[in-house]
Amino acid sequence: MEQQFDTSKIGMWLFLATEVLTFGALFAGFGLMQNKYPQEFVEAHEKLKRWAGSTNTVVLLVSSFTAVMAVLMARTNQAKKCAMYLWLTVGCAGIFMCIKAYEYTSDFEEGLYPAKYYSHVGDLIPGSHGYATFFSFYFMMTGLHGLHVLIGMGLMSWLAIRASRGEFSDKYYTPVDLVALFWHLVDLIWIYLFPLYYLIT
């Protein structure tokens, strides 16, 4: 059992390594394009809602805390509390997605679409591709991250149901531990996305 736990954990860490590399390529592409269009990128990032990004950062940090607590409760045989903390994590993730959805909608209303659909008027350098490129990266990276949040919500709801049934204990809590690891990575990626898109000038 001990060995299975360790083996699963190695598997999860390796999987997380692939996730880091996946996002890493996007970060590299973003950096290169920022280098190509410095002015457009600075101007474009000011169009994003900094308060929304900040709130979401706090929400995700709280959710990482509740995820840790869920693991702690699982390994100390407190099934009910484990389920509660898992649901809390799902709730935080839900708030995150709602704020994100609001942000996307209001971006679209201003014509801040990705790629060839970009139709915002009044940019300082009219006709430059830089704005559309910025928003393409913005929607791709936050979209891929959002997909991970949704997957995490699904996994955590499933675990919460299993926890209520009392399936986890100090003898066996591998899935809770692994999903929490995954969730921390999702949080961590946002910690990098947030300054990249909302803060850097």
């Binding site: 083996t7 190695i10 692939t18 390529a25 592409g29 290169l32 790629a115 060839k116 490129t133 990266f137």
Partner: protein
């Protein structure tokens, strides 16, 4: 059935277990739902051999297209430039993504790696099966893209052509995306297996070198493949939405695609060659009856090749507008690759020195590997030299170089490994006589096909061109004749291997006198590999104190 051996192995007379992994359960569903690494390895073996056949047919068509500059056969023009573009694209894409990347790890290593560690299975048997089905889905999509319009971009999918051309590029890139995940799961599985499932008493430096090679491969599969996956997604989004990342007309940078692509695809070259080297490290000591020379040096060289593979991708872009500084740095780093490769070569040669060498089919393939990989590796040095590279870029010299590494290296090693473990996998011996004949045909045919391409490339014949000057016709024709010899050698191999399943004598447990743990199982192995948990007792390749058990 008497079976004489020249390698000096003592045959065990242990009776075969009645039940083994092949007949414990029967029926198609028992195979399709299996989590046994041996059965998955066999299914993968059939699958990659099918891909090899398909890619091989396209290779023969490419060569046939270039038989003469008029592209005629029996006086009639039979092929158009568009068809030719599709031939070489499909040959490249199928061989790289469907055959050579999974060829050794997912089939042969899947079968023998857990057994070499004395384990019952891989760490995640269900993920292993999922990897196989992902491969199948990817293969169906890749073949589907041929049906709906085919791909003519070359296997490298360079932008901006790949973002603007019609055809089934989208489906093909999705196929490669899925195949990438199949490869990631295989690598992930092997790394976890090596970490956690070694036999009691077996430390890291007690593992067979094959395991070291596959472990290093796994590291690359995990760290490089995600970058390819996201790059192909970006390519797809660029095609559909025009985000302006790779297409310079809408503000993108086509060279960025090349950076991303080769950040994966250069390490992928080591995903292909490291398992080949790993097989050679097994075959040579076994057929030299001698402890491997420089065990740690070979183990470390596998790991250092894996690490170096990540920092040399820029040598694919020497003429793509990279800065002079980047060119010089990548050139210097690329030279470094020769060091661990050379370490391996010299250690293999030294292992054979004063050994008791026997020349059975696997050893013939290993010796072919040494010869061909030396040429492939040394011509790589030509390309790391900036000035020479500019002359030789995109000529047939490149084609010849990487075929000497990929086919002369990996495929030859794959064939060697296939013959080496065939008795263990199937429980039957193949015909040694036909094995040697086929190996000779493959070796001669290969050198005819690709050796001649070094000459053509040196004289300036560009790769991928449909039309060419009359002066190259004799060499092109010679290369095409070579491909027929090569093809017939491979065809012959398929025939006698399949025939051995029906008519081959039953294989002993340890037909070659190998010292690694997989030979302690019966041939074919029982479902959980060993009747009892094997304990690590002697170092691998220890022929001095070797007592053959079960006599």
């Amino acid at each position: 059935m008497e079976h004489t051996l020249t390698s000096g192995a003592v045959l065990g007379d242990r009776p075969r277990p009645v039940k083994n992994y092949l007949n414990e359960t029967t029926g198609i569903w028992s195979w399709m739902s299996t989590v046994d690494h041996k059965r998955i390895g066999i299914m993968y073996l059939c699958a990659v051999c099918f891909a090899f056949l398909l890619g091989g047919i396209f290779a023969l068509l490419v060569r046939l297209s270039l038989l003469n500059p008029q592209h005629t056969l029996f006086g009639k023009v039979w092929v158009t430039a568009e068809m030719y573009n599709r031939f070489f694209t499909l040959h490249g894409a199928i061989m790289v993504f469907l055959f050579i990347i999974p060829a050794i790890p997912a089939s042969l290593a899947n079968f023998v790696l857990p057994m070499m560690l004395g384990a019952k299975d891989v760490a995640f048997p269900r993920i292993n099966l999922m990897s196989f089905y992902l491969w199948c889905i990817g293969a169906i999509m890749a073949i589907g893209s041929m049906v709906i319009g085919a791909v003519d971009t070359g296997w490298t999918f360079y932008t901006p052509y790949s973002t603007t051309t019609d055809g089934a590029v989208g489906l093909m890139t999705m196929a490669v995306f899925i195949l990438g995940f199949s490869s990631i799961f295989t690598g992930l599985n092997f790394i976890a297996t090596v970490h956690k499932l070694r036999a009691p008493g077996m430390g890291w430096f007690d593992m067979p070198l094959f395991v070291w090679g596959i472990y290093a491969t796994g590291v690359i599969q995990i760290l490089a493949t995600p970058v390819l996956a996201i790059t192909l997604v970006l390519l797809l989004i660029e095609r559909v939405f025009q985000i302006g990342i790779f297409d310079s007309r809408i503000g993108g940078d086509p060279v960025l695609f090349q950076h991303f692509f080769w950040f994966y695809s250069h390490p992928a070259v080591y995903i292909m060659i490291l398992p080949g080297m790993a097989i050679i490290s097994e075959i040579i000591p076994t057929f030299s009856r001698k402890t491997i020379f420089g065990y740690r040096a070979i183990a470390y060289s596998s790991v250092s090749l894996a690490l170096l593979s990540f920092i040399v991708w820029g040598h694919h872009l020497f003429v793509a507008g990279e800065s002079d500084l980047a060119n010089v740095v990548f050139s210097a780093l690329t030279f470094l690759v020769a060091i661990p490769s050379g370490v391996k070569m010299f250690n293999w040669l030294t292992t054979m020195y004063k050994g008791n060498i026997s020349f059975e089919t696997p050893m013939l393939y290993a010796l072919s590997f040494l010869f061909l990989f030396a040429i492939g590796g040394l011509t790589g040095i030509f390309f790391s030299t900036l000035a020479v590279d500019i002359h030789l870029t995109d000529t047939y010299f490149v084609v010849a170089h990487f075929h000497y590494v990929m086919m002369g290296g990996t495929v030859i090693a794959f064939l060697g490994g296939l013959h080496y473990w065939w008795p263990k996998m199937t429980g039957h011996m193949y015909s040694e006589k036909w094995g040697r004949i086929a190996c000779a045909l493959v070796f001669i045919g290969f050198n005819m096909t690709f050796g001649s391409q070094f000459l053509m490339g040196g004289q300036g014949m560009p790769r991928r061109y449909f039309n060419y000057l009359d002066q190259f016709q004799p060499i092109h024709a010679f290369s095409t004749y070579g491909s027929w010899v090569l093809g017939s050698g491979l065809f012959l191999t398929a025939i006698y291997l399949l025939a051995s399943l029906k008519t081959g004598p039953l294989a002993p447990d340890n037909p070659w006198g190998g010292t690694t743990m997989e030979w302690e199982s019966s041939s074919p192995p029982v479902v959980h590999n060993f009747e009892e948990q094997p304990v690590f007792e002697h170092e691998p390749y220890d022929y001095r104190h070797r007592t053959v058990t079960h006599v």
